[in-house]
């Protein structure tokens, strides 16, 4: 299935900002995080614009956004 993956901030470095990627059926957000070599701690995860857990199962044409989780001021 095809998943649009969007990366933000430092997560883009050495990767990409937005790409359509192929994953097997039953893949989850964790599958993508692992595939891209991104530490899963301190990560904001969105599926189709909504916050979602790492174990969220994906479907064809979903969009997954991954953002660094920061804080402070």
């Amino acid at each position: 299935m095809q998943i649009t993956v969007k990366l933000y901030g430092s997560l883009c470095i050495g990767r990409f900002q937005s790409a359509v990627r192929e994953y097997t059926d039953g893949s989850t957000i964790q599958t993508i995080v692992t595939d891209l070599g991104i530490p899963s701690e301190y990560l904001i995860r969105l599926k189709n614009g909504y916050h979602a857990p790492l174990e969220e199962v994906l479907h064809n044409n979903d969009t997954v956004s991954l953002l660094p989780m920061l804080d402070g001021g």
Binding site: Y8, G9, S10, I13, P39, E41, Y42, I44, L46, G49, Y50, H51, S65, L67, P68, M69, L70, D71, G72, G73
Partner: protein, 611 residues
């Protein structure tokens, strides 16, 4: 601080701290050893100073009876990484209840000043009354204990904060400094004066790389007291780092919480600056007075774009391994690094950038630099200016401040200079007072009289329960963006359990960028290793909670009633459809949230203040 018994919980009086009282009117000083009353006293910072403030009935900030308290935390000056903090507390000239009474307030700053004060032998200084003439105070490590001198300071007047520090450094080589800028000197028209703290980097390079205790007008309080500068002089007494302490510090650096703030080259996200990327994904970066436009204008402030104009260096505080801040340097014609330009953190970057309609990093850097040099709180100044610009956009026929509006760099620059020099009281006294003068309060971005930081109130109803600044004293400002939680139960839980514990860092002397909660075993281990005190995580959390609730109780005593605990009306009346986060903050949600939070807090607040 002397620790006579390691069980500070059962017997807090066995921990004794050294206090100096400076009577600025008489020019006299006294010192005393004070036994701690409870664990809040032991941990220090505002946990201790608020108990002193609670003993006084103050009805206006600028009065001789209002003390300015300078103190440190338990771990300030220790070998625990980030243990650098100094705290300033007083009844604030800026933060005020609707009944007109000043609120207790504290502000924290890093640099090496707190260490030097502690190493001089003092844990706390209470500045009483006010001097008839400008003075500065010198605290020196003496053979038989701390030595104190009060000296004339007329020669420092008019200098910027950085210039004052460098002038004093010529006289006191082995010292660090807390000074006010021109804004603090003009305390009568500027209530948002910051205290400027020196850094080793600044003293070595001669560049204006200062730190600030900015919030709540503590610099204006110094100005009122005619106290222009404080010098803390001592040798370096950083203790030997034991193997166990090395482990603690390794965990401070390696834990995921702090690692986020490291430079990108070290696997971090590049400091708080990176928040802009995250929040822009939701169109939640403040623009034009906290009203995101849903466009990509802020991209000019993204790091890759700023790198085109500036050389960027990630740097750290004194002996800290978390290189959280980004210093910008001009680039010479030959491509080499030129002069220091400004420090880019999320708050000033947004509040002197997109929130006033400026997305050119060179212009933003200049405005940040000006605010820093003049010694004002970047949050209060930026947010008050954005109100002026918004007002003028709505009322071109009867504008404020010569009609300056969004994006007008030259005019905004002039307004900042005039404000810092004491010539624009409309701005210098903050957005609450200004909006009450204009009669248009709905888009004045303050809560309880203190200007909001660069996180939208539309996304953080918990601002109402911050006791000393919107994001520094209630750790919920990114909760919606990070967690996506919209339920009432979630928000009541995060306010009453986790969010309030943010203030614990402003007790113990560490920086929030350690990145773990107060209940984390790392905090307990750090205290144990640095001091020998055995304090469990549960006991630390309980003490921090009491200190927070005491602050809330003190607000109520200063006239804050239920109507003060609110957000700017615009948030309720005109939700911004451009923000791609759930619009949770309705009046109904907010009222229910408050009711449930008070139901948790009020019983616990009983008995926390003296009769």
């Amino acid at each position: 601080m002397r620790i006579l018994n390691q069980n500070s919980v059962a017997d807090p009086s066995s921990v004794v701290y050294r206090r100096c009282i400076v009577d600025l009117e008489a020019g006299t000083t006294t010192q005393e050893d004070v036994p701690c009353r409870n664990l809040e006293d032991v941990l220090g910072g505002f946990g201790r100073s608020y108990q002193i403030l609670a003993e006084r009935k103050i009805t206006e900030a600028y009065c001789p009876e209002n003390p300015l308290i300078l103190n440190t935390g338990l771990l300030t000056g220790s070998t625990v990484m980030t243990g650098l903090r100094a705290y300033f507390s007083s009844y604030s000239p800026l933060k005020q209840s609707r009944k007109g009474l000043p609120s207790a307030m504290w502000s924290a700053g890093s640099g090496n000043f707190g260490n030097k004060l502690k190493w001089s032998g003092l844990d706390e200084v209470i500045f009483e009354k006010r001097s008839a003439t400008p003075v500065y105070a010198v605290f020196t490590e003496g053979e038989h204990g701390p030595q104190i001198e009060i000296k004339p300071a007329s020669h420092l007047l008019g200098l910027t904060g950085h210039e004052k520090i460098m002038a004093l450094y010529k006289e006191y080589a082995d010292a660090h400094f807390a000074v006010i800028g021109p804004a603090g000197e003009n305390f009568d028209t500027v209530y948002m004066g910051a205290i400027v703290l020196s850094t080793d980097n600044q003293l070595k390079s001669g560049e204006g790389k200062t730190r600030f205790a900015g919030r709540g007008g503590m610099g204006s309080m110094m100005g009122y007291k005619n106290l222009i500068a404080i010098v803390a002089q001592s040798g370096d007494k950083m203790g030997r780092i034991t193997p166990d302490m090395r482990d603690v510090n390794r965990d401070v650096i390696k834990n995921g919480g702090s690692a986020r703030f490291q430079p990108i080259s070290q696997g971090g996200h590049g400091g708080t600056w990176a928040n802009i990327d995250v929040l822009q994904a939701f169109h939640a970066v403040p623009e034009n007075n906290f009203r995101p436009k849903g466009d990509e204008d802020v991209a000019g402030l993204f790091r890759p774009n700023v790198e085109k104009d500036f050389d960027i260096q990630s740097e750290a505080c004194f002996r800290c391994g978390i290189r959280c801040h980004n210093n910008l340097y001009h680039r010479n014609a030959d491509g080499s690094r030129g002069a220091f330009a400004a420090k880019f953190d999320f708050e000033p970057l947004i509040l002197f950038g997109s929130n006033i309609g400026i997305n050119d990093s060179r212009q933003v850097a200049e405005l940040i630099h000006l605010c820093d040099y003049l010694g004002m709180d970047a949050i209060s100044l930026g947010t008050t200016i954005s109100y002026v610009l918004d007002y003028n956009a709505r009322h071109p026929d009867k504008p404020l401040c010569d009609g300056v509006t969004f994006g007008q760099f030259d005019q905004i620059r002039e307004l900042i200079v005039k404000t810092g020099r004491g010539n624009v009281s409309q701005v210098g006294r903050g957005v609450k007072r200004l909006s009450e003068q204009t009669g248009e309060t709905s888009y004045a971005m303050h809560v309880k009289g203190l200007e909001l930081p660069a996180y939208l109130p539309d996304t953080n109803p918990a601002y109402a329960f911050a006791i000393a600044g919107g994001h520094m004293s209630m750790g919920t400002h990114m909760y919606l963006a990070k967690e996506g939680k919209t339920g009432l139960d979630d928000w009541v839980e995060v306010i009453t359990r986790q969010g309030l514990l943010q203030v614990g860092y402003d007790m113990i002397g560490l920086c929030k960028f350690v990145g773990v909660g107060m209940g984390h075993e790392l905090i307990s281990r750090a205290i144990g290793e640095a001091t020998g005190l055995k304090v469990s995580s549960e006991e630390i959390v309980a003490a921090v909670r009491r200190a927070y609730l005491r602050g809330l109780a003190l607000e109520r005593r200063q006239g804050y009633d239920d109507d003060d605990y609110t957000l700017p009306d615009q948030v309720f009346e005109s939700p911004n459809p451009k923000v791609n986060l759930p619009a949770i903050v309705t009046r109904e949600f907010f009222a229910q949230m408050k009711q449930r939070v008070w139901a948790v807090f009020k019983p616990e607040m009983e008995g926390l203040l003296p009769e």
